[in-house]
Point group: C2
Chain length 467, copies 2
């Protein structure tokens, strides 16, 4: 029996040299969004993409303007009744600085064995090219895709997507879809397939303590009065036990212990635990009874993000500060209510705040709950089917410590879930000198994306909205 | 038997109207050192003082220039073999702002019963006038003072004496003396005479903690690694017990418990303990077993003066800060070695700093030990004799929580001790609108200064340098 995808896969395999050549042209455009000096190149990149989308037969090809760098859009809506997938990528790249540390010119893609060096290779022109080439291959060979396609290539990802919300708001009807397939967000390893099935939620609290009407002279009052910094230090210290676990009553409410499957998947996650900490010069520290990987993805956490008060300039100023401030955020997991968790932190602080110390809530933000793609979600089951090679390891489910911003924005504004299906790998020095992408990832990627679109086309559109 | 001081005292009593008139003229000169707009008035005040010193027969009358506002100098050295006393005062005043809160014009002295309202009345043109008038009265009546006199009227006290050190360095031989009598530094009450016999010393320490090579994303690492702010909070919290006492091993070494005399004098010190705290909106807190007044003058203290790390701007930044910093100072008492005390704090911090956290000493300053005027020091015994009125209360010895800057400078640069012998009272709203001075304080002050110079003249110069 012939696989109906054979023409597409054969076409893509044959086109590998052309795909590489097109990617290199794309890479030669220094589309650095952070630096206004590259505004012309940003324009060039948009024109380059629009021309290709039009040439391959996409419709409604246009720039979507949210007030900043425009996004590139194009669609193929020839599969009525089938799901509509928004394919997300971005054409902007990080600045090349420090340029002197590059061994090859950052904007002249240079091949070395399987590696293609250059700014934007791994993040994310490589994977964006993979996704686009698969759509083009379907249209070139079968004259149709298994799903409706809306291509959305952003130009502000590297600057924090400042106008993504107004842009989506403006083009909401154009961007309506059943789910997002993101070319951004890479693989954890080439051997072990991983599927991101969720992320921790968050909430924030900022407090101010007051111990007097004004800063007092430490000569005149030292030893006699409360000091706002001592009080803040004592309060913040009380939030964690010595072992690093959170010591706040009610903080863990609703958080289920990791399931056996989660513990198993976490243990199978391909990463070097020691290197994870030594790479950033940090030390492993936290809730006992959990591996670090579990702690940062499957358990709630509480961090003080900023703390300040008193004199912070040069030299000495002998004051007893009357005011101290702190910003805190929590990461919460499935089953937890962000409002309840952040309230538990505030209640703890209020209960531990001694008489004579005023505690003011400067800001409190209940944030958002944890995100979850159910195990039966079409994005998950389709990815599992695609990533499970015969005799190969079973794809593991991975949860992220924090939601990816664009994923949250799509969920919040369009109500749709995202599958991250990028093909970059963790060692490819993204955002750093000598960034590279593997040419073999293009070959693996186009095969996987071909199968993924096919698998997704077998679901009813409503199936994407059930969980 | 006639008191040999009678002619002087009689002369001063008769001159009270002229003294008040001269003081009012002095007060009408708006010698605000902080505001360059008053530079001309600063010049006027210097000329006004120099003219008077010359008119009264002082010699070497001149301006001493340290690079800022010059000081006014004049001397009478007609008592060879007798002690030389440097009389300190200052001719500069605080700005009058907020002017709209004054009920009378700040630079038009206005009498209301015993009170003379105006900027600089209490701080410190009133007491400076008292000291000068006594010297002039001795010369006018007895043609001699009981001691050699060096008048030194500073013009930068209200701006923190920025050029006092270079000035003393430049005119060191001119300023050589056996002790300082300061017209600045007032009485605690009109009823209970007080003598300042010392001040706490100090030392400083600044530390930095590091938990990683860079700030980490709290989504990616939250719950997995140490947070520099948590570590700093825990370390700083460990410095004090819940009751506010210092919990650092070795911190109290050398500090003798207050003597019975000190406890008695402290208890007799005329002040409203509750108001001391409520006036500044603070709460009494500190070492148990001691009254607040003892804690702030007779016991060592440890205060965090500044503490900071992480994100302190607007909104939320979800980082795990890798660095935290804190400034600390200690106040130490008689018998303590500042280097030992500050080292005990550092040792405590190092001992409590967990593995995986780097502690760096940014700055460490052993400062200075506590200052003490021995009970048998001529300045003390002379003041006691003068302030003990027949049938009145015995003068109490008071120690200050921190040294007065000019006192420290004189001790450090000229090796001489200072007796603060100003006649202002605590309720006179110095540095505030509606500052006033009591005309009765002029009458009491000139009598006391007359007797003080006489009593000091009975000591050998060497007696001032023994303790």
């Amino acid at each position: 029996m012939t696989d109906p995808l054979d023409p597409v896969l054969t076409h893509l395999a044959a086109r590998q040299p052309q795909i590489e050549a097109w990617l290199k042209t794309f890479l030669r455009i220094p589309s650095v969004s952070a630096d206004p000096a590259y505004a012309g190149s940003m324009e060039d990149a948009r024109r380059f993409l629009c021309e290709r989308l039009r040439a391959e037969g996409l419709q409604q090809v246009q720039l979507l303007d949210g007030g900043g760098e425009a996004a590139v859009y194009g669609e193929w809506m020839g599969a009525p009744g089938r799901p509509t997938l928004l394919i997300y990528g971005h054409y902007d790249v990080q600045p090349a600085d420090p340029v002197e540390l590059w061994r090859t010119p950052p904007f002249e893609p240079t091949q070395d064995g399987d590696r293609l060096y250059g700014r934007g290779t791994s993040d994310v022109k490589g994977s964006t090219t993979v996704a686009l080439e698969v759509v083009f291959a379907y249209l070139a060979t079968l004259r149709a895709c298994p799903v409706n396609i809306k291509v959305f290539i952003e130009g502000e990802e590297e600057t924090g997507s400042p106008t993504l919300r107004p842009l989506i708001d403006r083009y909401r009807s154009l961007l309506t879809a059943d789910a997002v397939l993101s070319a951004d967000g890479g693989r954890a390893s080439a051997q072990t397939p991983t599927i991101n099935t969720g992320a921790r939620g968050h909430a924030a609290l900022e407090i101010k303590l007051r111990t007097a009407a004004k800063d007092l002279h430490s000569g005149r009052y030292g030893g006699g009065v409360r000091n706002a910094l001592h009080e803040m230090a004592t309060l913040l210290a009380s939030l964690h036990a010595d072992d690093g676990s959170v010591a706040v009553a009610g903080f863990h409410d609703g958080a289920e212990p990791p399931t056996p499957r989660q513990r198993q998947d976490t243990a199978a996650f391909p990463y070097d635990e020691a290197a994870f900490f030594t790479d950033v010069g940090g030390a492993s520290h936290g809730e006992p009874g959990h591996r670090p990987r579990e702690r940062i993805t499957l358990r709630p956490a509480l961090d003080v993000n900023g703390m300040w008060g008193g004199y912070t300039g040069a030299g000495t100023k002998t004051i007893i500060p009357c005011e101290a401030q702190a910003k805190l955020t929590v990461r919460i997991v499935e089953g937890q209510d962000p409002a309840h968790v952040i309230q538990s932190v505030l209640t703890h602080l209020q209960r531990h705040c001694p008489a004579g110390v005023g505690l003011e809530v400067v800001a409190m933000n209940a944030g958002s709950p944890a995100a979850t793609l159910a195990a039966c979600h079409p994005l998950v089951t389709a990815a599992e089917a695609v990533l499970q090679s015969p005799g190969g390891p079973k794809p593991i489910h991975v949860r992220l410590g924090a939601s990816v911003p664009i994923t949250s924005v799509f969920k919040e504004m369009l109500g749709i879930d995202t599958l991250m299906f990028g093909f970059n790998l963790p060692d490819e020095d993204v955002h750093a000198p000598n960034e590279f992408f593997r040419l073999s990832s293009i070959r693996d990627g186009v095969q996987a994306w071909t199968k993924l679109l096919d698998a997704l086309g077998r679901f009813e559109p409503a199936a994407f909205h059930r969980s």
